[in-house]
């Protein structure tokens, strides 16, 4: 099968507008006859389910959590980008488009990214209309801040819990449709199989996680809004339940997987503190607006950070990248932190951490402004600190509290210790311009698809993409498919395809339960995570990746011999749920390594040690690798398909933030 991205013709700035006005529509009466399944209720899923229901479609929504409001979008902290140019600092749709393409190290699709930038402004309007309480200035206008990889202030936020507020907005829209009877909500349900009839996605098999029973659900179309797969690394900033299972089942059923090796390692997370650790906690990128990153200039410096004088501190990001300073993109900041720690300049007990220090801006930026407002001439350091602290508290209070709770250190007084951790996956199911996967009728939205962030996502762009896909893209593009389905009557779930899919899922679950070995699911997940982190993490090499593939294959074989799952199938059994997810991670991990091995270049978050500049920056190979890797499942192996990327509007260059 050849890959058809179906990008509309015409000027990049006009494509979406023209496409929207020419796309076939489904009339309101017909919409009421069409059923859509939405899996996942994060920003993409909740906004899509709500909007499609508002338009009249019959929607069934599924989430594995106990409520749709708990999807992991809730944990996004810093903000959401939009090209509003409210700050009059030269922002525009084109600039957001350009920043995103460049930030993605020229591995994203121009047309999709431009559409994303265009939709960004409507998202903010929509969220405000829903009652999302964004931060505001005294005049009542919306407030903005900066994020990495940009030189404008276009990030809208609600303290350090923007994701929560946006998701609760989308969730309220979803629940409104539930109340109106337009959405049927299935919480504590996990999709375990895709049902295809005559090559088209026609439904899913879902497992009720409370009763353990398998259910058959028909849909004229199926939307996967199931998030990313960062948990393949075991330790990540993802929620414990975040998983690849739905996307992986889709992949096995024919959906190509795009750029699986593109993983985002976020530079500012609380470092690992012990072997029992179950997850890592992010400290928002927004902190880099006011936090300065440094390490001592001396190796193995054991002094307390507050005792290290200014001239013995190396603000290495400001030194290496003066134009963007502490606000370089995430991949660059992460690698720079790793470089310093590997060279022996790391801090803290493990020496695998750097400082994120707020003292300077707390005093000099905010303290001075507040003192000036209060007409305090020549404020002393104590006054500056006291006044500045209040401002910092208002901006980042919940993050500082979280840091203190976890580390037992007070970040208002002592610099935070931070280190990179797995945070997001740019890769995902390959989709065309309509967000349809290679299985007709099956779509992927938000983090679950590969489409907008190339090899590195800029901060505050995940929320933007999830909501753009759900509120503004899929409601239009799905018409392109469903207008041809208006004659398709809802199909009986007694159809042989449903029976076969349910049997397959049933057999798989029975097989897992039947192993009754000696090792816990968790222990396999931890081991897989370690292989992935060491060999397919921040730095990768041909040798390491080959080893990783062999190790994952061996671990997978051992899993199917020795895993022990307690309890039984037809009951609430979280260990069984986890076993199914880890089984899929054990396959995905291999594909990620295969993809990383294929890509003989460094770009964005994908850093192959063999391919770097003299200064240690990622060295792209545009001649041979300017493509999206789309992998087709062939049972035990994969076949690579390539979607060549064309840049007609942006001049490709070596990415520089110096």
């Amino acid at each position: 099968m050849t890959l058809e991205s179906k990008i509309p013709t015409g000027n990049v700035a006009d494509k979406w507008t023209q496409y929207k006005s020419s796309i076939p529509l489904v009339n309101p009466a017909n919409k009421r006859q069409l059923e859509i399944i939405v899996v996942g209720t994060g920003l993409a899923g909740a906004s899509a389910a709500a909007t499609l229901a508002e338009m009249g479609y019959k929607v069934k929504a599924f989430c594995f959590q106990d409520s749709p409001r708990r999807a992991h979008s809730i944990a996004a902290q810093g903000g959401i980008n939009a090209a509003k140019n409210y700050q009059n600092d030269g922002d525009s749709v084109h600039r957001l488009f350009y920043d995103t393409i460049k930030g993605g190290d020229y591995r994203a699709r121009e047309a999709n990214v431009h559409r994303l930038a265009e939709c960004s402004t409507s998202i903010i309007d929509q969220c405000v209309a829903q009652g999302v309480p964004f931060a505001r200035e005294y005049g009542g206008m919306l407030s903005n801040r900066s994020f990495g990889g940009t030189q404008v202030q276009r990030t809208f936020y609600a303290a350090g819990q923007t994701g929560q507020q946006l998701l609760l907005g989308a969730y309220s829209g979803l629940e409104r449709q539930v109340g109106l009877g337009n959405v049927k909500m299935y919480a504590r349900h996990e999709m375990v199989e895709v049902v295809k009839i005559d090559g088209k996605a026609r439904g899913i098999i879902a497992r009720d996680l409370v009763s353990g029973k398998l259910e058959r659900h028909f849909g004229h179309a199926v939307l996967l809004c199931t998030g990313g797969y960062g948990n393949v690394f075991y330790l990540s900033t993802n929620a414990m339940g975040s998983n690849v299972t739905a996307a992986w089942k889709a992949h096995k059923a024919g959906a190509y997987f795009g750029n699986p090796c593109f993983t985002q390692i976020h530079p500012t997370c609380i470092p690992v503190s012990g072997h029992y650790q179950s997850k890592l906690t992010l400290m928002s990128e927004s902190l880099r607006n006011d936090g300065r990153i440094w390490v001592p200039t001396k190796q193995n410096d054991e002094r307390h950070p507050n005792d290290i004088p200014e001239d013995e501190r190396d603000y290495y990001l400001e030194r290496r990248y003066p134009a963007f300073g502490n606000l370089v993109p995430r991949d660059i900041a992460s690698r720079a932190a790793k470089e310093r720690c590997d060279a022996g300049y790391g801090v803290g007990q493990s020496k695998m951490a750097v400082y994120l220090d707020f003292k300077y801006n707390m005093m000099q930026r905010y303290g001075r402004t507040e003192a000036s407002k209060l007409n305090i001439a020549n404020p002393d350091d104590e006054t500056l600190t006291r006044l500045g602290k209040e401002v910092v508290k208002e901006k980042y209070g919940n993050l500082f509290d979280m840091y203190k709770q976890i580390t037992d250190e007070n970040p208002y007084e002592t610099p935070m210790r931070i280190y990179p951790a797995v945070h997001y996956t740019m890769g995902g199911l390959w989709v065309d311009y309509d967000l349809m996967t290679t299985v007709p009728g099956m779509y992927a939205l938000g983090e679950a698809n590969f489409s907008d962030h190339g090899a590195n996502r800029l901060g505050a762009s995940a929320l933007m993409q999830g909501l753009a896909d759900g509120y503004f893209v899929i409601p239009i593009t799905i018409g392109n498919y469903l207008n041809k389905e208006i004659h398709t009557k809802p199909m009986s779930t007694d159809h042989e395809a449903f029976v076969a899919a349910e049997n397959a899922a049933n057999e798989r679950i029975k097989h897992l339960m039947g192993i009754q070995g000696t090792r816990s699911v968790e222990s396999y997940h931890r081991e897989l995570g370690l292989i992935m982190w060491n060999k397919c993490g921040m730095a990768r090499s041909e040798k390491g990746l080959k080893e990783a593939i062999a190790e994952i294959q061996a671990l997978r074989a051992d899993f199917y011999k020795n895993v022990r799952i307690p309890g039984s199938i037809n009951e609430f059994n979280p260990e069984l749920d986890k076993a199914g997810r880890v089984a899929d991670f054990l396959e995905l991990g291999e594909l990620m390594c295969v993809d990383a091995l294929d890509r003989n270049e460094s770009c964005g978050g994908h850093f192959r040690e063999e391919f770097q500049t003299e200064e240690g920056e990622a060295l792209r190979d545009d001649e041979n690798y300017m493509y999206v890797s789309a992998w087709e499942s062939k049972g035990d192996s994969w076949e690579l398909h390539k979607e060549e990327l064309k840049y007609e509007n942006i001049k490709i260059q070596q990415r520089s933030y110096k």
Binding site: E54, A129, G139, M185, E522
Partner: protein
């Protein structure tokens, strides 16, 4: 690494909604740097290794924002520390040799599913009854055309930080959900966008809250004291005010 603490746990075990439950005793060694849930991970690994059934408990983000974790620890929802969810509670808040009792949320509105896991779908139904602003995607005007004074925005935000965990219900002797409902009503009735529906909203949400079997408020204040997001008791006053005013307007 810090010294391990020896703990004695009394944990509520209940096979399913229908069956009766009981406390089981367990011994666990924990590091003071572990979170409370990581201590439960260690316990569960221990149980699985010895062929026993692990304790079922709800958890997801483990950073205090998803609202999924829900344990009553020594009689207090989310444990002894103020303004902290169970997942953000660390073992350094306990002492070596402590006996810790762990139970599920207990309320008619939150039936136990298994062990420490309860069904909180009643909260979703309350939101579905009116906890929203009726606007469809595509309807909105430019965001800055709706000016919201900073103080109003900040107060609405404070109410909107509710994570829907249900600790307020669990803490209340009447199993009242008025802090939860009050938080949403406060957020939406304060903002200009939420004003058109403020009266129908509050009546619908209170009706649904009653239908779900949550009790009434007797101003004890346990809900606000135990709320991990420190939603203030004043949201209940706002809820009452909004409700009375709606009723007086014949809603």
């Amino acid at each position: 690494m810090s010294k391990l603490m020896k703990l004695h746990l009394k944990v509520w075990r209940q096979k399913n909604t229908e069956s009766a439950g009981n406390f089981e005793d367990y011994k666990v060694d924990a590091s003071p740097d572990m979170s409370f849930l990581e201590m439960f991970d260690v316990l569960n690994e221990q149980l699985i290794e010895t062929g026993k059934e692990p304790v079922a408990f709800d958890h997801d983000c483990r950073e205090g924002i998803c609202g999924m974790c829900s344990m009553v620890i020594d009689g207090r929802p989310h444990g002894p520390k103020q303004g902290v969810t169970t997942c953000q509670l660390h073992m350094r808040s306990f002492n070596d040799g402590d006996t810790i009792t762990v139970e599920p949320w207990r309320a008619n509105g939150f039936p136990v599913i298994k062990d420490l896991t309860v069904n909180r779908s009643a909260f979703d139904r309350i939101i579905a009854s009116g906890g929203f602003i009726s606007t469809n995607a595509g309807n909105a005007v430019d965001a800055n055309s709706i000016l919201v004074p900073k103080e109003i925005a900040d107060e609405a935000f404070e109410a909107a930080t509710c994570i829907g965990c249900g600790a307020c219900v669990s803490a209340c002797k009447n199993a009242s959900a008025m802090l939860f409902v009050g938080a949403k009503v406060t957020q939406l009735s304060m903002l200009p966008q939420g004003k058109p529906e403020r009266q129908s909203r509050v009546v619908a949400m209170v009706n649904q809250m009653d239908a779900e079997g949550f009790g009434a408020c007797t101003n004890t204040g346990a809900c606000a004291a135990e709320c991990p997001k420190q939603i203030p008791l004043s949201v209940i006053a706002t809820l009452n005010r909004e409700y009375i005013s709606a009723k007086m307007n014949g809603k």
